[in-house]
Symmetry: C2
Subunit: 518 residues, 2 copies
């Protein structure tokens, strides 16, 4: 059995005490163990700040970008081996694994390009020179400089490669050292990426640290220049936000949490049309890709009343074709949930939805997972619900079931009705709209935008060109208000701001012009 | 005695129960009373969201800007009466009162101009259209739309006019209704501005509400689209951040709290030179303006060792000229502290500094405040300390004494030494630098920037043109990391983002170009 190590203060460290055991979620076979007891987290944070931070700040954006680009290429070069780890430890199909791993290397490539474009500078100008008084000789200029702390990244179990890469790319390009804390249960993949990164010596010592196991007392050591980015449950996010040390020092925090993303089908769309088929495909993909363990997955499916029966039938037909099992077998199209705890949580969520809505599709009871030992594995077949507009359906809008589960909700086809329903999610990461009706698009978009970090709109003209709504893209922001955590990541250059301090510099115009003029 | 009323749900309401009594801090005479017991805060928030929010969102930026501009003019038109209220209830000199009131109307005018420039739109584009995949036909565009909640503004006692105006201007221009909660002790001025605003019917019903007295259970009624902006003590800021409702709904919070702003004198500056005199003037002004009750006031004065004696002597000479008393008397140049509680807090701070540093200037013991009844008024004469670099001086860098108090600290004249000292403040709103040495400027600026929301640099070339470092300007950001609260306000258009949701819209390029094309 492999023992995962932490990489802190410039060295690999094996934890003491009782480690967490990482298993293959299809077979429940142990794969590795990870523990961080005994790690000196205070020293790790200081080392990252003092050594890693200083070294990163000495590099230009172009230099940081070049190292980030090399990490992307390194991941791509080891893609096949990494995919195997994702299948074994994550319960991922090959497609799921590629989505995670290629998403990671793609995001690194995107930030490498941003670094190259920012070039040989270490300070970013933010906006233009501003005249402050009647005199033109004294002016203001906003700048962004790297924060002088450490960025702690507490990542979710579902995207061990992409989660690592997307957060690290932005922080490192901004000039901040990172401490990566993947979820222990699926850490094998992230750990392997960290090994590759350390062996290739891509970044200065201290720029990237890694925790295999629990985060220990790391948060107690955070200070006013540090930042904390968390992806996971709203509950843990809330606890981190209110951690005494975070509150006392006003540690900057970003939380990406729960979201009941909606897909809205316009009443103008005909069954069987290109847009309709894209809608059905997107819903089924989101239900089954990563076994529904995607923060951006569609959980609520709004269908106009006249299309409700068709939508349910066509989703059912597509779900009939899903082959659940151990993704080591080629015919499997959907793997298990990642952990026993996730399966327990999903089952409790299904129970909640069963009390609030009606099951319209579920797999035959006796279907055994393919290529899995009898009685083993954290499998959960898809379940499709339908909610009627009546009392008692609050769970449909409030309970994110993090598995292959969605609920169809009928609406009257008007923008106002769609907006009113989607808003009950109280803030989400992304919702999507499938229509060719421009007036409906504009009205619905304006109603959904304040409640989302992203809105995806598809119609006949873009069926061949649209990326999938559940895919987070490096150049677009990722995050959302309210239930979704209230945070924001990525968005190209925008993402750098979280890791930098914006400062208004007031000085003589001549100084400002020549200082930043290059 | 005047009874202040709250303006909620479209009507003036007198609170029940035992009100807070507002006094003249020079004489301790009661002026007014204010209480908000019995106000239905839940209904007030709903009214603001439903009526005020919808009406504001229906207006264009230009229309909102026009109303904001009218409020600025209205305040200017009533300037003399407002100044009298500030003198009576705030203990302000005429100069202090103008600083607050003109700062308010000036900020309103600045945001009115921004509204005019943004014109006839209701949605802001954020950045350019982004190509998302190989195909140019599907693209991304970030937009900003007004959040659909209410903006609660909990303001500090020291700037009743400016605090009201600067927060309201930004929120209203962004399209969010506001509930203004001034500090009760000095609410007379803010209450009068609210009366003017209501009587002139400048904004749609529900766009601006006002609480005279305590904030009650208002925070319990906040939801995922609401925002909370607080200016005041770090302790209260922390409590608001961790309020269960704020945490559960991820209410967006901005805190502007404590700050030990520093002024750094370069070793190149000669005693008596223009830059030197500006430095002395700025320090003394910040110690005495608003009786030192300014979040941006210089609290730490870094003097090169060779200039230490000169700086202390020249500051002392300037402080000798300060006339403390009731600002109703024309010869008075510094009024009392605003409340008995503030005086108690300042005195406790002076005690802490006395244990950590040495008094180098303080007023003769027997000087009685001018034009104040014997034994009355919350007066506190200036105190100047000097801290030596030794153990036990932590309070000098950590204790913001919110009164006419500053500490001189000697340093060796190097940028590294200045940066190391200033950083001990653990995050501030603004620090200032007085020098004509370009290399020293660049190095110090880069070292200070990550720790500040603003850095002010003055040298001989701008002595005639520089605004004062303690003045917050509408086009520059105001806020700071760490101890300063970790927030950001103003900054021209930047400030709008706090009250808006950024959303990445993915759609056909044609749609995006024509939709936002105007």
């Amino acid at each position: 059995m492999i023992t995962l190590r932490s990489y802190v203060s410039g060295a690999w460290v094996v934890g003491r005490g009782k480690p967490a055991v990482l298993v293959n979620p299809s077979t429940e076979e142990p794969l590795a163990e990870a523990g961080s007891e005994g790690v000196d987290f205070g020293a790790a944070a200081r080392f990252a700040r003092d050594r890693g931070g200083a070294a990163l700040r000495a590099l230009t954006f172009a230099q940081r970008g070049a190292a980030i680009g090399k990490l992307g290429k390194l991941i791509f070069a080891h893609r096949d081996a990494l995919i195997d780890l994702a299948i074994a430890n994550g319960g991922c199909t090959r497609g799921d694994a590629k989505f995670d791993i290629d998403g990671g290397s793609g995001t690194l490539a995107a930030y490498a390009a941003i670094g190259q474009a920012l070039g040989d500078r270490r300070v970013l100008a933010d906006g233009e020179l501003t005249q402050l008084s009647r005199s033109p000789r004294f002016a203001g200029q906003h700048i962004l400089t790297p924060r002088e702390g450490v960025a702690v990244h507490v990542n979710a179990f579902n995207f061990p490669a992409w989660g690592f890469a997307e957060k690290a790319a932005v922080a490192l390009l901004a000039g901040m050292p990172v401490i990566v804390k993947p979820a222990a249960s699926t850490a094998l993949l992230a750990h392997r990426i960290m090994e590759l990164l350390v062996d290739a010596a891509l970044f200065p010592e201290g720029a990237v640290s890694f925790i295999a196991g629990s985060v220990g007392d790391l948060v107690d050591h955070l200070g006013p220049q540090d930042v904390l980015a968390f992806t996971g449950s709203g509950e843990t996010g809330a606890a981190l936000r209110c951690h005494p040390c975070v509150v006392r020092c006003n540690v900057r925090v970003n939380v990406e949490a729960d979201s009941l993303n909606a897909a809205v089908l316009g009443k103008d769309v005909e069954r069987g049309s290109d847009t309709y088929r894209l809608f059905i495909n997107d819903v089924v993909r989101d239900m089954t890709q990563k076994t529904g363990q995607k923060c951006t997955a569609i959980r609520r499916v709004l269908a106009p009343r006249d299309l409700l029966a068709a939508v349910e039938e066509d989703l059912g037909i597509a779900l009939d074709a899903v082959v659940v099992g151990n993704p080591a077998a080629a015919e499997v199209t959907m793997g298990p949930l990642a952990t026993a705890a996730q399966r327990k949580d999903v089952r409790s969520g299904i129970d909640q939805l069963t009390a609030a809505a009606r099951v319209v599709w579920r797999a035959p009871v006796h279907t055994a997972p393919v290529a899995a030992p009898a009685g083993k594995g954290f499998f959960q077949a898809p379940v499709l619900f339908r909610a009627e507009e009546r009392a008692g359906i609050a769970a449909v809008h409030a309970r994110e079931v993090f598995g292959p589960v969605a609920t169809v909700i009928s609406y009257d086809g008007t923008a106002a009705s769609a907006i009113a329903l989607v808003r009950q999610g109280e803030g989400g990461l992304v919702s999507s709209l499938y229509t060719n009706d421009r007036a409906f698009t504009e009205e619905t978009l304006l109603g959904l935008a304040p409640h989302h970090g992203r809105v995806f709109i598809a119609g006949d003209a873009v069926v061949e060109h649209a990326t999938q709504p559940g895919m987070v893209l490096p150049l677009l922001v990722h995050g959302g208000p309210g239930r979704a955590g209230g945070g924001e990541e990525l968005g190209g250059r925008r993402g750098l701001a979280f890791y930098m301090q914006r400062t208004a510099v007031q000085a003589s115009r001549t100084f400002l012009e020549t200082w930043l003029g290059s």
